[in-house]
């Protein structure tokens, strides 16, 4: 380990610790549980998280994970509270602070619940073991006769008690996790597994919680940046003199970066508007040509299906060939990117809303060529992210302005900036050729995905001959993570083709899926959804049913949709969604339901109407009045079935529920209209089948 910023190690840990007793877990501990292949631990003895009982008996938990609304501040508190038998309210979670918390690669990829959760359980259980051991020795009784309850160690025989605070007083101990420690099994959970309310919820409903965009510091000024008119444009000349006429305005010009600061945001905006800039633009692809572009710009154009797949396809009696187009969509976190930066004696402190505080720290170190331990990044609970806040643009901008003007600077992106200068979920083109036997068993599967990504690309059904290929491409728009990422596009295509095969076979799509499926957990959620939906009930006239299933990172979803179709005017209505979801042992059923509900309803946007429109390097719909996201009026009746598998490790829930939405609706529309919609969004012009398709419009 090079320094304390990159990862706090055992040697320097004790200096930070102060008094009390702590159990720390190292990266090698954490890595053992992580399935993330790209995960490179910073060092074997680097500490990844710890649980600490202070001398006053309060429990603090330190983790580099961050809270963006998914409620891990609550769920991680619950698992610690469970093992230590203390109230959730007695636990303080210190999260996402590069000075105080250990290095963490970031809060993404549904990694918190399956990796950080179990390790904090182990750390807390190890701590429990130490406390009971200390009390047993003090009382000279057998350790098996003492237990923890409500922040105390209790001797069952004599009824003697001693508080955690008294036990830890005057101690200064750092212990390693006992890997063999007995964990409380999910069947016996009494705090984990229950609907504990969001930690600090009252501060949110009373408007008191300070998001980064709410923070102020003495002497702070507000920053705004000059933006290019389009992607790929470069600055030719800029006249900034007129911007300086208002009192208190500073203009900062460093190479191609031009920004202003002012004592209030309106003065900064007014000053920015007075800058006259000339730009040189370059040709950029537009949405009208995007799918051809992605295919022709693929890095790997060769399609390596192979003879066996081709032969099986050619020989099979039932064949489907489809291509699917998936548009770029935006995350639209309601709190846009925001950062507050201040420099002091060459050291930089930044508060910013990000899923990767340590990543932002690295970004800042590189931009300003200073050591990482001169930079502290903190992340107060932020106004959502959905995979859209991996990067540190606002932090870099605020830090640059602050360094130039010598004052704390706050930068809050406008909605337009968030649409234009953040990044999108990738667009993608997917081509599928699939075949089945007359009996309804899959015979061959060829699947090519251009640009969306590899997540969820693997077909969950049994098929003897398959070829699945992801072709990365050159994206004209900046793209990045999004909940579920490519699994939405891939599962949409897989589940659409499965339905089309079933239709050609004249088989019930539910039966057809079950016949080709071995994965028990996927079967279970599909059956749970179909049962709640009452799949076999008689359809009313003008109604269509559709279903889909899929999985992301050990979380499984089955989705059923019902639509109504008015043939006379082409009007469609989404009446109902039923979603059955399973992600192992449920840590908090209330917050899990919110995750599933939010993921599904957010998914309605990408399924039905969301699409980023762009032409010549300009985003044409960079506002909430022109880019439509789901609102109250869009929500159908929604039933959520949570399948609690206490025998399975808990997995993340923020991604998988989204993948079934689009294909279930698409299949329901095909069921009632016979029209197979193979684009996402399905109905960009509203809930009617008579309008021109999105891609031919612009």
């Amino acid at each position: 380990m090079k320094n304390s910023v990159e990862g706090i190690n055992r040697r320097n840990f004790l200096k930070l610790l102060g008094g009390g007793i702590a159990v720390a877990l190292t990266y090698s501990d954490l890595n053992a549980l992580s399935k993330h292949t790209a995960f490179v631990p910073p060092g074997d003895d680097a500490i990844a998280a710890w649980v600490h009982i202070l001398e006053n008996g309060t429990v603090t938990v330190y983790t580099g994970k961050v809270e963006v609304g998914q409620n891990i501040r609550t769920s991680l508190s619950q698992v610690v509270a469970e093992e230590l038998s203390v109230p959730v309210s007695s636990i303080e979670m210190i999260m996402g602070d590069t000075l105080l918390t250990p290095y963490d690669r970031g809060t993404y990829g549904s990694l918190t619940t399956p990796t950080m959760g179990p390790k904090l359980r182990k750390a807390a259980a190890s701590l429990r073991e130490v406390l009971t051991d200390m009390a047993a020795k003090q009382w000279n009784v057998a350790q098996q006769t003492v237990a923890v309850k409500n922040g105390q160690v209790i001797h069952a025989v004599s009824g003697k008690t001693v508080s955690f605070g008294v036990l830890t007083r005057g101690k200064k101990m750092l212990l390693a996790v006992n890997d063999q420690v007995q964990l409380t099994p999910a069947e016996k959970w009494s705090v984990a597994g229950t609907p504990v309310a969001k930690v600090n919820a009252k501060s949110f409903v009373s408007g008191k919680h300070q998001y980064v965009s709410d923070m102020v510091m003495p002497g702070m000024v507000y920053g705004k940046m000059l933006r290019a008119p389009s992607y790929g444009a470069s600055l030719v000349a800029a006249d900034v003199e007129k911007a300086k006429i208002s009192p208190g305005v500073n203009v900062v010009k460093e190479d191609n970066f031009i920004g202003v600061t002012a004592p209030d945001p309106q003065t900064a905006t007014n000053a920015l508007a007075r800058i006259e800039a000339r730009w040189k633009t370059t040709p950029q692809p537009s949405r009208a040509e995007i799918f051809t572009y992605l295919k022709t710009h693929a890095q790997d154009k060769e399609r390596k299906a192979g003879e066996a797949v081709d032969k099986a396809f050619g020989a099979a009696p039932v064949q489907v060939q489809q291509h699917f187009e998936v548009q770029y969509i935006a995350h639209v976190p309601l709190e846009p990117r925001a950062a507050l930066a201040v420099w002091e004696n060459g050291k930089l402190t930044v508060w910013t809303g990000t899923q990767r505080p340590f990543g932002v720290q690295e970004e800042l170190a590189e931009v300003f060529s200073i050591p990482k331990d001169h930079i502290r990044v903190m992340m107060p609970d932020t106004g959502s992210a959905y995979g859209g806040k991996h990067s540190g643009e606002a932090a870099v901008e605020a830090a640059r302005l602050s360094r130039a003007v010598g004052k704390p600077v706050k930068v809050v992106w406008t909605r337009e900036e968030e649409f234009k200068w953040a990044y999108f979920r990738p667009a993608g083109l997917i081509e599928v050729a699939a075949a089945a036997s007359n009996e309804g068993l899959l015979a061959s599967w060829e699947f090519h995905n251009y640009n969306s990504g590899g997540a969820g690309i693997e077909i969950p059904y049994e098929v003897p001959h398959k070829h699945i290929q992801y072709h990365p491409s050159d994206t004209p728009l900046k793209q990045g993570s999004y909940r579920g990422l490519a699994a939405t596009a891939n599962v949409f295509s897989i589940e659409s083709v499965m339905d089309d095969l079933a239709r050609q076979l004249k088989q019930d799509p539910f039966r057809f899926r079950l016949n080709n499926l071995k994965e028990e957990r996927l079967k279970q959620v599909l059956q749970a959804a179909a049962s709640k939906f009452d799949w076999t009930r008689q359809k009313e006239a003008g109604r269509g049913y559709g279903m889909a299933c899929g999985f992301v990172k050990n979380a499984y979803v089955g989705t059923c949709a019902e639509v109504a179709y008015n043939k006379s005017n082409g009007q469609l209505q989404l009446l109902r969604l039923v979603v059955a979801f399973e992600c192992g042992a449920i840590v908090n059923p209330m917050h899990l339901e919110n995750q599933v509900m939010g993921c599904v309803l957010q998914g309605l946007g990408g399924a039905l109407f969301e699409a980023v429109d762009f032409k010549d390097g300009r985003i044409l719909n960079p506002s909430l009045s022109s880019y439509r996201v789901p609102r109250f009026g869009d929500i159908p009746e929604l039933d959520i079935v949570l399948v609690d598998r206490k025998d399975m490790p808990s997995a993340g829930a923020g991604e998988a529920p989204i993948v079934g939405v689009a294909p279930a609706i698409r299949n329901a529309i095909a069921d009632v209209t016979g029209v197979k919609l193979n684009t996402l969004p399905l109905l960009p012009h509203g809930m009617t089948l008579k309008t021109p398709s999105l891609s031919s419009n612009k």
């Binding site: 609304g69 969001k198 109250f632």
Partner: protein, 146 residues
């Protein structure tokens, strides 16, 4: 310029085109009202102006002189949450909660006019508020039960 917010009179000296939202957040340090879109399309900045839930981001601060402005900070009385704030807590009607203050303000305006709204009336009244985390059914429940 003088404005009355949450029962207190304030004198402001701000640029002519300052929005009520900026005046509240920057000059009065009432940061419970949030910026979400800047065009009155998301509802995160809503405040009560003479009882009407109004997007403060497109309301010039000069236009609220002689009016009564209530923000999320003004709903709590003597440390007691407003029944709608309590209902949002009880129903867990948020994830990141960035939209919550605007949601609660809209809901207060609705329930003041119509104490027992139907589900459809709630949906219509709340259509201007976006919960990007999309826990809309929870919010409807909270408003119904408050």
């Amino acid at each position: 310029m003088k404005i009355n917010v949450n029962g207190t009179d304030y004198t402001l000296n701000v640029p002519a085109n300052t929005s009520l939202l900026d005046a509240l957040r920057v000059n009065l340090n009432l940061t419970g009202s949030k910026y979400g879109c800047g065009e009155g399309a998301c509802g995160a900045c809503k405040v009560l102006i003479d009882g009407h839930a109004t997007p403060s981001c497109i309301t010039p601060v000069a236009s609220v002189e002689n009016k009564i402005v209530i923000t999320i900070e003004g709903l709590e009385k003597d440390g007691q949450l407003h029944p709608l704030q309590q209902a949002f807590l009880d129903e867990d009607a948020f994830q990141c909660a960035y939209c919550s203050s605007g949601m609660i303000i809209s809901a207060v305006a609705l329930k003041t006019k119509n104490p027992t709204p139907t589900r459809q009336e709630i949906i219509e009244a709340m259509q201007g508020n976006i919960c990007r985390c999309c826990v809309y059914p929870r919010i409807i429940n909270a408003i119904s039960k408050a």
